[in-house]
Symmetry: C2
Subunit: 351 residues, 2 copies
Amino acid sequence: MPQDKQTNRRLLLASRPHGAPTAANFRLESQPVPEPDAGQVLLRTVWLSLDPYMRGRMSDAPSYVPPVALNEVMCGGTVAVVERSEHPDFCVGDWVVSGSSWQDFALSDGRDLIKLSGPVLEHPSWALGMLGMPGFTAYMGLLDIGNPQPGETVVVAAATGAVGSLVGQIAKLKGCHVVGIAGGAEKCRYAEQVLGFDRCLDHREDNLAENLSRHCADGIDVYFESVGGKVFNSVLPLMNTKGRIPVCGLIADYNSSGIADGPDRLPLLQSAILRKRLRIEGFIINQDYGQRFDEFFNQMSRWVAEERLVFREDIVDGLDNAPEALIGMLEGKNFGKVVVRVAQDKPDLKR
Amino acid sequence: MPQDKQTNRRLLLASRPHGAPTAANFRLESQPVPEPDAGQVLLRTVWLSLDPYMRGRMSDAPSYVPPVALNEVMCGGTVAVVERSEHPDFCVGDWVVSGSSWQDFALSDGRDLIKLSGPVLEHPSWALGMLGMPGFTAYMGLLDIGNPQPGETVVVAAATGAVGSLVGQIAKLKGCHVVGIAGGAEKCRYAEQVLGFDRCLDHREDNLAENLSRHCADGIDVYFESVGGKVFNSVLPLMNTKGRIPVCGLIADYNSSGIADGPDRLPLLQSAILRKRLRIEGFIINQDYGQRFDEFFNQMSRWVAEERLVFREDIVDGLDNAPEALIGMLEGKNFGKVVVRVAQDKPDLKR
């Protein structure tokens, strides 16, 4: 079902998931396209970003931001085009990054919008990936918390995902030995052959701990955590003294509800933190590093221009396919950054 | 059995404990007093420090330092007097801090010795407490990792112990709201009335979580961890966003062996680290901060001179009572910093 300019399709949170989300947690509805008031713009969504944090917003467990309310539009970052403008700073045809959510049209007072300009207009969806929130997460988590030094070993989970693929490539640019962890032989091959990781290991194989130990012969200095779950069990014993663990996500645990079965691994972790003097630090990119976006964007844009980074997108066509794509991503079925192509527009680069 | 100058009593590690240490893990033997070679001094122990880390050295689990070997002298920091000197930098009668272990006499080449001078000579055992390793641990862990700001809430476990009592007092000097946790009503009263904590809670009472929540109305910004175990369960839900947890010890877990029963609290901790963007960092004071000892010592000496710090010692008389005192300390039976008075000497302040 393609986008049309008379209808605003919206994907609502119909119910909260117990465990993994299902299609029944979402509901598609159609409404009239809203009218901008003075000081507002009407945005039309072209690209919608799907990201692991969205699972958290579907639950009403206490978190750092309120959940999506029931029967409200699912939240999400987008690249959108200004369709109508009653705002002095925006013109019809401007491309912007916005938080306009899982819908075709949205109103904005402009405060949450960033205009796209320069090279990113050639590839607008990168503003949701390499040059947007996932890239910013990879860059700051790795460099500011992880602080990797040349020759050190960096291990990154979800190695072919939006964040992980960039963490590993930036670590290579910094002269590190990089070992990825991913699900399945194809992703592992891609991480080694295309992304340039020194090694990538399949977490679905039984001998992950053994393989990791073999390929991290000097131990692990930085573990970039975005996964949680059992991968951590294999990583922890290999952490070196003064190792750093930036934590940007725990996708393996997002669907879990209630208390996990034993044994209790907390004393093991505490003991490792003490004995190895580890630093473990969680971060939420915009809250913690918002004021350093330009620093990231400028450096990352240079690397992109120099073609030193590879960024694979897993493109899903059509807003109505977003629920299935999110469900699949939480199961690791995606291969690269998941973006939904809601409309086919491309920026006019001569404009 | 008092010290005599013809015999070197030594307390050896006779066997490794399973769980809590017992008297049978130690053996007292007597040897002739050793003779210093050229470049050596002969030290006679006056004060022996007993500290929680010693439990770790009794086990042969992998750690940041090798364990004490079986049938070797138990390790430990001491304040000692130079009895004979074949070393150009030391004179007979010098008082030093050394690592001369659980024995009356030891040889040293001088490299591990720090001469006592100035006000600390009036109270030499403070060199093992407020002005030594425990004070250094409290100071750096709280100020460098914890980084407490005026008005923030600092919670400290083992609140009347060598480290905890100083953590809380330094936090008060920095303008924080300080809540201690200790074992028993007497220790709690002491922390509030003598140490000046805003509140001290008894971890032996059933409603620790509830009490903690009531007395940390604005949440917890810094939790100084030296205990582990169940106290952490009450603290974690109250940690504020961007909270800091310096970890200097885990006394409650030192005696545990093998895998703890469930439920598995690791996912809960990981989730808190992420959602609250916590920083948890282990440290070993001399390895991590050795180069900043003077900074600590100068500031701490000023506070001591200004009588802004209280430091309670739990003095045990006689080297042969050290095993029992260590066992008691690991059970929380001490009240203040445990030091063993191995000999009765006092420095000659007019010298």
